[in-house]
């Protein structure tokens, strides 16, 4: 009984997602075509990847505000590298992007776990620092389409069976880290630390490792995302992915991840991502005035967080009721 209520959160999200698709589909039948669906998936893929990283960070009761700046910094770095050394093979570029992201994320993680600075402060600071470095290394200039090779620009688009590399990478991220969180020892320790840090310390969980790991993984993911981002839009700019961090956090929150850490599911995050992704795409297609887009996004986040809280409270009430019996 109780379990059903808890599971219902994902269910509600799924139902609203489906009804959203139906409503939009009724207004614009083209929306329901397979081709369109694939486009939406491609478009949401970057958000999904990065959201999985953010999800892990929020699980340990952290938050990563450096996401947008990190995407921009890795994107700009690899684009510049590619521009000046076109000879570097693409797979090396891919590895480099992950490495740069790994370093940026590790910096966050080390400050949080070793120096014990609150994550919100660390990432607020590194957001400014990373964004600043984007401008410094590029000197304010852009890397444009013709400065990228075809192989570079087609990186996110290629793929097989009609599934783009971009989507493939996102799906892989979701599956790998979904399994990691649910079935591995370290994954469960992430939940444990987020749920009760003191208890976790007392049972000998390596807090330093568990508090570092999510930032490191989130960094590596957004590193790769940075490369895919600049390749997809064939342009690296100083304000790439500006404000992206808040959209990513919003996707997690809509997906039912508790901002206090310790609870949330990969499935929920994926649904949250799809919800925001579809809203972003659907609005332009049902010809809603573009000026309403941001307000609607805000409204949806608001409704989602209220629904989450109300459901949580109902569960609590049921528990007390049962205890009194």
């Amino acid at each position: 009984m109780l379990e059903k209520v808890v599971k219902k959160r994902e269910f509600i999200l799924l139902v609203s997602l489906v009804s959203l698709i139906v409503i939009v589909g009724l207004r614009s039948p083209r929306f329901l075509s397979i081709g369109n669906f694939r486009d939406i998936m491609d478009d949401t893929a970057l958000l999904a990847m990065v959201a999985i990283g953010q999800f892990m960070v929020i699980l340990i009761a952290g938050i990563d505000l450096s996401v947008g700046a990190g995407v921009a910094l890795t994107g700009m770095s690899v684009a510049l590298l590619h521009q000046y050394y076109p000879g570097i093979p693409i797979f090396v570029i891919v590895l480099l992007s992950i490495l740069i992201g790994f370093l940026l994320g590790s910096f966050n993680g080390i400050l949080v776990s070793l120096l014990r600075i609150p994550p919100i402060i660390v990432t607020l600071a590194t957001m400014g620092i990373y964004r600043g470095f984007v401008a410094l290394i590029s000197g304010g200039r852009w890397v444009s389409a013709h400065e990228m090779s075809d192989a570079f620009r087609n990186l996110p688009r290629g793929g097989f069976l009609g599934v783009s590399n971009l989507l493939l990478v996102a799906i892989l991220c979701v599956i790998i880290f979904g399994i990691f969180l649910k079935y591995t020892r370290t994954g469960r320790e992430i939940y444990a630390v987020g749920g009760n840090e003191i208890a976790s310390r007392y049972v000998g969980i390596n807090l330093k490792k568990i508090k570092y790991l999510p930032f490191m993984i989130a960094g590596s993911i957004y590193g790769l995302a940075g490369l895919l981002w600049v390749a997809r839009y064939a342009s690296a700019q100083s304000d790439t992915a500006m404000g992206f961090e808040l959209v990513v956090i919003a996707a997690c929150v809509v997906g039912g991840v508790s901002i206090f850490g310790g609870s949330g599911t990969t499935l929920g995050v994926v649904l949250g991502v799809l919800f925001l992704g579809i809203i972003n795409n659907a609005l332009t297609q049902v010809k809603v005035s573009p000026f309403w887009q941001m307000a609607l996004q805000g409204l949806i986040i608001l409704v989602a967080v209220i629904v989450n809280t109300v459901m949580e409270k109902r569960t609590q009430k049921l528990v007390t009721k049962r205890r009194n019996l």
Binding site: L2, R188, A192, G195, I198, A199, S200, Y202, I205, T315
Partner: protein
């Protein structure tokens, strides 16, 4: 020197065997605060030792040193006569010392099974958790300890206080600790739940482990313990065999009016 005398006295009373765990001259400072000053403790096999004292007397600090949460600034720790260092909670667990904390070391949002195996899950292929075996073992443990919990898949935040306490104690027993430390196991429990918990503590002893228990409730202490050590202001002020003392004397030791 006073402590040494007391130590000797303690040993004389129950000299039938060597202590399984012994702490000598432990000091611990937090900044300028003396949390512990030259404190000794000895724990014998098959013994329930009670640690009493007023708030701030140093009980929690002392057990956290045994549990590896804190490192002493001075003093030595001996296990079965050999000097050891307990550098981390993990090291303490490896020595088969199990601690049940006052703050209830449970993760509310995780379920019963995961809480029983918190920090040391059964694994397969090295990295993956073996959920199936963990569930089976949990059922076993709960049956053995006669703890009834409606659903193993439920987050423990949905359990009652007594169930949670039983779970925490059960976890310590399940890991067949040689030494089980209980910090305020009966605080915030109802009458019936307290009775069950005290029975559980006796059960630990029957399983062949030694117990250190901290409590403010002297009636509970007198019900379960064999021996009582009293701390005051970070110092050890007395050790008494339960059968040779009474609540009155202990209260006087605690308040310093003896």
């Amino acid at each position: 020197m006073v402590t040494n005398k007391l130590l000797k006295a303690g040993r004389d009373i129950t000299s039938k065997s060597e202590p399984i765990l012994e702490l000598r001259g432990i000091c611990k400072y937090f900044g300028g605060v003396h949390a512990l000053e030259d404190v000794g403790l000895e724990l014998y096999p098959d013994e329930i030792l009670a640690l009493v004292g007023d708030n701030g007397a140093g009980k929690s600090t002392l057990i956290k040193i045994i549990a590896g949460v804190y490192q002493p600034d001075k003093g030595e720790v001996l296990m079965e006569g050999k000097e050891i260092e307990i550098r981390s909670p993990r090291a303490s667990m490896d020595l088969r010392i199990e601690t049940v904390y006052q703050e209830l070391a449970l993760v509310d949002k995780l379920d019963v099974v995961e809480n029983i195996f918190l920090g040391r899950p059964l694994t397969k292929f090295r990295w993956f958790v073996n959920r199936k075996r963990m569930v089976a073992e949990t059922v076993d443990i709960l049956k053995r300890l006669k703890i009834s919990i409606p659903s193993l898949k439920e987050p423990v935040q949905n359990l009652s206080g007594g169930q949670r306490q039983a779970l925490a104690v059960g976890r310590a027993i399940a890991w067949s600790g040689r030494i089980v430390i209980l910090d305020e196991p009966t605080a915030a429990l109802g009458v019936e739940e307290t009775r069950k918990t005290l029975a559980l503590i006796k059960q630990i002893k029957e399983q062949g482990a030694s117990v250190i228990v901290i409590s403010h409730n002297l009636r509970h202490i007198f019900e379960v313990s064999d021996r009582i050590i009293v701390l005051r202001g970070g110092r050890r002020v007395g050790s008494r065999i339960k059968s040779k003392t009474n609540i009155d004397e202990i209260v006087k030791l605690i308040t310093g009016s003896l």
